[in-house]
């Protein structure tokens, strides 16, 4: 009773899955082996996301602490490494509150709906060569589709909480998610076009030159858009703690809050992994093929660090400014990038349809120039400027008082 995976299966490329499937298939029927191998890999993925979320909470708090010249959590374990566990224990032992007048079913469903898409997204991520659970040939599309579920969950949370702050947060989150989906998709089109594939594995292999060098504009638009979709600073209006308490999850406590937080920080990790895959070359790196997971982790870590760094530095934009930023600035940039990349691919591609490293380098140089010009042209929003020289004002209420004024 031996089972063989068909070579055209989307699961075929995954070594771990195939080995488990074939070993289990020796003793059990094929459909059981299919399920068991799937569960084994799902176990890995769920743990990767949740432990990753724990690690990112720890990293974020430590790093924010150091950015702010303080220490950060340091009581539990070496360097406070067990702090997420302590947090989890505390949250699990808390009373599970449900506000009066809330929609019970919807309210309880939200934490699950927040976490599920993240784990689904990891299914197509290649952590190293041939390790994606499913090497979908529409991987990019799949990620975009699945990630949109989060916005539904957020709106459910805001609606079911029977809390006006939560409602504010939900309305803002949905508005932001809808507007930022478009520039993100457009920026990814450039990547797909250069790689000539939507499969994440193929995109990684196509990056002889990492795509953030080839298409800096797309990288910028993607990072900004993903910051907004993740509710990260400076676009964190949906849970702006200084304005609307905690936004859509104001009313959540205990284990539900723990899951929502896990989804948020797990989301940072997953998006960082996707960004690393799409723009930083994923698992490809020097030395050995078997070190792919290390390069992947390092690149993901760099992106996570960037997110934390922005959070430590920037104030938040207002909701209308975020919309304006998306529609008036990011969308034109994404369009410019798309047009530029289309022309370049059309002109540079050889007869066999393959772009060489030289072609990519040429594209990078041209796109850098395009980026600078485009930001200069469309940079209305970030053109605000005050002169910091002071002057003696002309008409003051009280004469004879030495006064200075901002120009």
């Amino acid at each position: 009773m031996s089972c063989q995976l068909a070579s055209d299966s989307i699961l075929y490329a995954n070594g771990i899955y195939r080995v488990v499937y074939e070993i289990v298939g020796v003793v059990l029927p094929c459909w059981v082996a299919y399920a068991i191998a799937g569960l084994v890999f799902a176990f890995i993925l769920v743990n990767a996301v949740l432990l990753g979320a724990a690690a990112i909470t720890w990293g974020e708090r430590r790093l924010l602490g150091r950015f702010q010249n303080r220490v950060g959590p340091n009581r539990w374990g070496p360097f406070g490494l067990f702090q997420p566990i302590a947090d989890l224990v505390k949250l699990l032992t808390k009373e599970d509150l449900r506000p009066d007048g809330s929609d019970r079913v919807v309210f309880s469903l939200v934490p699950v709906l927040m976490v599920a898409p993240l784990i689904l997204m990891t299914a197509v991520l290649p952590f190293a060569k041939n390790t994606a659970l499913a090497s979908l040939n529409v991987g990019v599309l799949y990620i975009l589709a699945v990630s949109s579920i989060t916005s539904v969950a957020i709106f459910m949370a805001g609606w079911s909480s029977n809390n006006r702050y939560a409602m504010f947060g939900a309305a803002r989150a949905v508005a932001v998610l809808i507007s930022y989906e478009i520039p993100v998709v457009l920026s990814l089109l450039g990547v797909v076009m250069v790689a000539a594939s939507m499969s994440l594995g193929t995109i990684v292999e196509a990056q002889a030159l990492p795509f953030f060098l080839v298409q800096p504009l797309a990288f910028f638009v993607f990072m900004a858009g993903m910051s907004a979709e993740l509710n990260r600073s400076p676009f964190d209006v949906a849970e702006a703690e200084s304005e609307i308490i905690a936004g859509y999850h104001t009313e959540y406590s205990g284990v539900r809050f723990a899951l929502i937080q896990a989804a948020e920080f797990g989301g940072v990790g997953v998006v960082a992994a996707i960004t690393a895959t799409l723009f930083l070359g994923g698992w490809s790196g020097p030395w050995s093929e078997y070190l792919g997971w290390l390069w992947f982790l390092i690149k993901t870590g760099i992106i996570v660090f960037l997110f934390i760094w922005f959070r430590a530095t920037y104030p938040r934009l207002r909701i209308d400014q975020i919309m304006a930023f998306s529609w008036k600035f990011l969308l034109p940039l994404a369009m410019v990038n798309l047009i530029a990349v289309t022309l370049e691919v059309f002109l540079l591609r050889g007869d066999d349809g393959v772009l060489t490293v030289t072609d990519l380098a040429i594209m990078g140089v041209v796109n850098l120039a395009v980026t600078v010009i485009a930001i200069a042209v469309f940079g209305n929003l970030i053109k605000e400027r005050v002169s910091f020289r002071t002057r003696q004002p002309q008409n003051v209420v009280v004469p004879g008082v030495s006064t200075i004024e901002v120009i």
Partner: protein, 147 residues
Amino acid sequence: MALRAVSGEDLAAAVNQEFPGAVVDFDEVSAWVRPTRINAVAGFLKDSPDHDFQFLNSVSAVDYVEYFDLVYHLTSLKQQSSAVFKARIFGRDNLRAPSVYSVWRGADFQEREIWDLMGIHFEGHPNMKRIMLWEGFEGHPLRKDFL
């Protein structure tokens, strides 16, 4: 550059010229006006170019058991001068005084506070409610007989 303090005498003379009989008494720093004329005097002091007291520093009430003094501290930014005028309200129950809200918007919270803590009701104030204490609190705590 120091602020010129308008003496009570000058203030009383100026107010009396505009509204004869409005001033009851004066001393070296302040002039007492009739409580019924507070609003008119305030408007005059604010709008007349000689005085131009655009800025109301504070409105205070002092409980002297037989009567209450309302104290208005004024400043003129253009003239660089300051003045004090007072109004004396006799009695302890159901006290009323005209509000200067329409003259100086800055009196808003201070008059509400006086109503809350001293129990002088300002007429013409659009939102004469308690400010520090809750509605339904009995008594006015800053009065001398409140224990």
